[in-house]
Symmetry: C2
Subunit: 286 residues, 2 copies
DNA sequence: GATGATTACGGACGCCGTAAGCATA
DNA sequence: TATGCTTACGGCGTCCGTAATCATC
């Protein structure tokens, strides 16, 4: 199973086209056909239906593995290159929307300690950020998410270590006048039937939340596809639905049980990050 | 990065010898040398010190990725082959030492429903079992471990889905006369300085426990390398140390906080397991 | 008939083995 | 000096592109 063939297979299924994959990968149509044929011969199974191009059952199985394998190969390459290249000239920092505040403070502190430090910052979604750190596009990443206390975030399996982590309280963001205002705390179970805003680019996706809270439901009243906090807060204020957010970016009612926290992790490709780059007090690097 | 080269690199580092790796892999010494040279050329970094053969810093990094990548490639192959081959003639079931009881009951129930069913059972350690299911050596596996309530077990990343899971109470196994006997519950923090038996083949390894309980310490008074429960219970009864075990295999004092449970998962390669193969009431297959 | 996957074939490159070279214990 | 890694070189297999073939919309 040549990784090149695996990549070809992934692109072919994504584009549902041999010729399209050929264009994207810089091969001829014929080469693509031969790649797929080689995979099918090696595995002894048909992987694709042709016309329309669509994975068979076996192909669907292979596809579930292809992405993680190719990702990890890229991560390995990047990891080796990093130690060979030594410390980068400009520190490329990534952050998720809800970790930008913390990331900004960390960068400010770092530049205080190292005034000559050249820094570039980028904001993107959580999984994309973890992948970018793994593949060497970024040097460090500050990612956030919702998890049970003490649990690590569920990130794509790239082998990138968590250098540092901290956890904060979660609140249910509410419009100014809302019956739940003033309650000392609410439990998620009481809110499964509430109107939620599904904002996977900013906070937990509702389907993930259902898994974490071990509850069915959480029907989205509205979907928000932005990467910014402001738009989401505006929708909440306008009474369009509820959202689960860390206490320091939104006012709301604290979350009671099941115990979930807002967790922020500092991912660092290559070596442990220097001591002047920190996000909080709990260092966890071994 | 040809996976064959990666495999060669892994074997070379394990044996600390090019010629040894050549013997094990059925290549000539020269081919091994060329594999390593090809990797080093592609990655632009030296991966091994020669004489003695030892990974460089870059090589150590690559090594961390090589195992997971090769494992996942094997899992992909096995996964595709499984759907191509159809349901197996004899169902190969794996179990960890502490899940044998549950596995046996599941097998008994299955044979009640399918009297003609041919079954083979194997017992081995947790990670090895997960790998065996992933690579198709086993069809299903019943694995156990210690986790926070609701958390999945931390198994090697193979993509094998958890078909079903259940959780049970943990107790601290004690000798018959012990000051803690009769206490309604104990907390792990009170026991960091106790004499523990480290039995990684049977129950949680003490270093894993330290991570789960978020506590340092847990110095082993004794290490037990068996895969059987009987020997461990005998050592506990003889007062050689404490052990954390599920309540249904040992008497002891229930564990209070931090909340940890004994979790059992049914792993199933290929399709979801048939309905007549169950380990408990909580089915989780999507 | 046009679009797009497959097959046939030739050239180039890559991988492996043999054998000679070379460094280190 | 012996063990063991490296380099030189030749054969063979593999991979890719061109071009002809075949299938489907």
């Amino acid at each position: 199973m040549d990784p090149r063939f695996l990549r070809t297979f992934a692109v072919v299924t994504r584009l549902a086209s041999f010729s399209g994959a050929a264009r994207e990968l810089g091969y001829t149509q014929s080469a693509i056909s031969q790649h797929i044929a080689a995979l099918e011969a090696e595995l002894g199974a048909s992987l694709l239906h042709r016309r329309p191009v669509e994975p068979t059952e076996a192909g669907a199985r292979l596809l579930e593995h292809a992405g993680p394998i190719l990702l990890r190969l890229d991560a390995a390459r990047a990891d080796v290159r990093r130690v060979a290249a030594g410390p980068p000239g400009t520190l490329r920092v990534g952050a998720t929307p809800l970790s930008t505040g913390l990331a900004a403070r960390a960068v400010a502190a770092a530049r205080g300690a190292r005034p000559a430090l050249d820094v570039a910052v980028r904001v993107c979604a959580r999984d994309a950020l973890a992948v970018a750190v793994a593949t060497g596009e970024l040097d460090v990443g500050v990612v956030d998410g919702v998890a049970a206390p003490g649990d690590p975030l569920r990130l794509p399996d790239t082998g990138v270590p968590v250098a540092e982590s901290r956890e904060e309280e979660l609140v249910v963001a509410l419009p100014r006048r809302h019956p739940l205002r003033g309650r000392p705390a609410v439990s998620l179970e009481d809110l499964v039937d509430a109107r939620w805003i599904d904002a996977p680019g900013v906070t937990v996706a509702l389907d993930e939340l259902a898994v974490l809270a071990r509850a069915e439901g959480f029907r989205p009243a509205l979907r928000y596809d932005g990467l910014d906090l402001g738009g989401l807060l505006a929708l909440v204020a306008a009474g369009q639905g509820l959202a689960l957010l860390p206490a320091d970016v939104a006012s709301g009612v604290p979350l009671a049980a099941p115990a979930l926290v807002h967790r922020i992790e500092l991912l660092s490709g290559g070596d442990p990050p220097p001591p002047w780059l920190r996000i909080g007090e709990h260092r966890a690097w071994g």
